[in-house]
């Protein structure tokens, strides 16, 4: 048990060395118990808000405001989840979010792997300078480019369309390019050379040799761009005006005025918004965490 990850600095581990010493054993068991206790208490504190959100979404609108708060709804009502679609264009918002997110994810994966491929496996003058430039743009706060971009999209007549929310993903987001370039550098060059001998073009190598071997980085980019797009609030807030065109993030906000804050309804909407992220997380957990670690270039 101590071997696999050999956790240093822990209260546990190395029990095998002096197993005769009971005092150390007692301390260890106590340490474990305390660790479990603290972790569980902390975990509950973090979990309670979510459980409360979920339970509120199942309450009749009056019960949401009761004092002391009801933790288990009595009675349990599913009405709120229906009302979402009846009282507001929630269906539109949901579809819009799905469309914008799908287009963004697709664009991010295609463009970032393509540019990353060029930056890592093709030789052309200025390549490394371009890559450096690309990496340095990651440091630029988006707020600096936000207003001129808005003006550009306005000139193009893209206000109140999904185009401004999606186009950036199709034009190689810097961070995803960085990720795929780093990943593809790790693949053996023999792949490309063998394919070239068979007469494959660079495009062919990208599509049929490199992409099939880049599952991990594709999953990571997919998850990161899914989250970025699904959660994006400021973008839709700035670019979308018509209520029917809203995404979930901005639509949910208008709920407060629609219903003069019907909390039960608002929480039902929040649950619907959280669900896809949770599902994605639990189905692709491995890549989720890897993406986080990728993004934390630990400096070592």
């Amino acid at each position: 048990m101590t071997q696999q990850t050999a956790q240093p600095g822990a209260w546990t581990g190395r029990q095998n060395k002096r197993s005769g010493d009971t005092w150390i054993k007692v301390r260890e068991v106590l340490g474990r118990a305390v660790a479990y206790l603290l972790l569980t208490v902390g975990g509950l504190v973090l979990l309670v808000p979510f459980l409360w959100t979920f339970s509120t979404s199942l309450k009749a609108s009056g019960a949401a405001l009761s004092w002391p708060p009801q933790f288990i709804p009595r009675p349990v009502v599913f009405r709120n989840y229906v009302d979402l679609f009846v009282l507001a264009p929630f269906g539109h918002w949901l579809l819009n979010s799905m469309l914008v997110t799908a287009l963004s994810v697709l664009g991010a994966i295609l463009s970032a792997t393509m540019v990353g491929f060029a930056f890592s496996r093709l030789r052309f003058p200025g390549r490394d300078a371009m890559f450096m430039l690309c990496v340095s743009t990651m440091m630029l706060p988006f707020i600096v480019t936000m207003i001129p971009s808005f003006i550009l999209f306005r000139i193009l007549g893209w206000i109140d369309t999904f185009a401004p929310l999606v186009v950036g993903s199709w034009l190689g987001p810097a961070f995803y390019i960085f990720l795929s370039r780093q990943f593809m550098r790790g693949l053996p060059m023999d792949y490309d050379e063998a394919a070239r001998m068979d007469g494959a073009t660079s495009w062919r190598i990208w599509a049929s040799v490199i992409l099939p071997n880049s599952g991990a980085v594709i999953a990571t980019i997919g998850i990161l761009s899914f989250r970025a797009s699904w959660n994006n609030f400021m973008g839709p807030l700035i670019y979308l005006n018509t209520t029917e065109k809203f995404t979930l993030a901005v639509g949910l906000r208008t709920f407060r005025s629609y219903t003069s804050t019907n909390w039960a309804l608002l929480m039902a909407g929040s649950v619907v918004m959280i669900m896809p992220v949770l599902i994605l997380f639990f189905s692709l957990q491995r890549y989720f965490l890897r993406g986080m670690q990728f993004s934390g270039v630990t400096g070592r």
Partner: protein, 308 residues
């Protein structure tokens, strides 16, 4: 190289090595084209345009008027810019150190070799993946004075109820608590850092009779400084741009207590249509963040440990 030459002859296309390389270069530029277009149109162009716009007065409808550095002068005297800058610095100063310290403690705990520790790791990470809008709504309800959970906890401890987000003094701390609920988002990086520390160091220290605390201060902490540094730098950049939480939960109120810099910038740009002024605000933020980051890298040389 020889492989390429062979490839050419074996393909029998009669291409010289030169044109083969030219072709690779052309493909390279074509494949990098999405980024090149994006860089020119969505990054470099707007970056420069933003500088130019910041020297004008423009409401999007009438013609832009060149006013030189007047916008920057206005920023230094504007009451709301000052309030928003103060709020943002306050928020950052309390949030970022707490966030980094908490994430480190949490990671130390999650790094213990316990049965089922993976479940805990997942549990602590979960709140950080909640969409910002949903989590703002959730906390809005928790801090609701009449029936919220926060006051329920206070009441059951026999303490008086508070107004939380409706109280100018408490609104910022409440938003900081809200942000801290996502502290688990930093744990994967920290865990990776902790697991990267060679076990041999701990073993050697143990043989020398170093206690737990000693090992933490002399081994864990120094070797974690690169991760702590990274978390601090990115944390500050993020918290200087805080927007969604205050826009949704408090709309800058009460009495401008949560009027953050980017919220004020947003209002100037998209509610008051002062494009020049808001570009100047954006540039000011950029310059401040740049200086802060450079300063941190400089200071970092003194406390961040890098293996050669």
């Amino acid at each position: 190289m020889t492989a390429n030459a062979q490839a050419d002859t074996s393909r029998g296309l009669g291409l010289s090595r030169m044109s083969w390389r030219t072709r690779e270069a052309i493909d390279g530029y074509l494949m990098a084209l999405p980024w090149i277009i994006g860089f020119v149109c969505l990054t470099a162009g707007p970056f420069i345009a933003s500088m130019g716009l910041s020297l004008t007065k423009w409401d999007l409808l009438t013609k832009a008027k060149w006013i030189g550095f007047a916008n920057y002068g206005k920023l230094l005297t504007d009451k709301y810019v000052r309030i928003s800058a103060y709020n943002t610095v306050f928020y950052t100063l309390f949030l970022v150190p707490t966030q980094v310290a908490l994430a480190l403690c949490l990671s130390l705990a999650l790094n213990i070799n316990l049965k089922g520790i993976r479940i805990y790791r997942t549990l602590y990470y979960l709140p950080s993946i909640t969409p910002a809008v949903a989590s703002a709504m959730l906390w809005l309800m928790i801090f609701q004075p009449e029936f919220g959970l926060a006051n329920y906890v206070l009441a059951s401890l026999g303490l008086p109820k508070l107004l939380w987000l409706l109280d100018p003094k408490l609104a910022k701390p409440a938003l900081i608590i809200m942000a801290l609920s996502g502290v688990g988002g930093g744990t994967p990086i920290m865990l990776a850092g902790l697991q990267g520390i060679p076990v041999s160091l701990y073993e050697a220290a143990e043989i020398d009779g170093a206690g737990r605390w000693h090992r933490f201060w002399r081994i864990t902490l120094p070797l974690m400084t690169p991760v702590l540094f990274f978390s601090t730098v990115t944390g500050i950049i993020g918290s200087f741009q805080v927007f969604t939480a205050s826009y949704i939960a408090t709309d800058g109120g009460p009495q401008n207590a949560t009027l953050f810099y980017v919220l004020h910038l947003y209002r100037n740009a998209f509610e008051n249509f002062k494009m020049g002024l808001s570009c100047a605000m954006a540039w000011m933020l950029f310059v401040v963040l740049l200086i802060l980051t450079i300063l941190q890298f400089w200071l970092g040389q003194k406390w961040v440990y890098y293996e050669s």
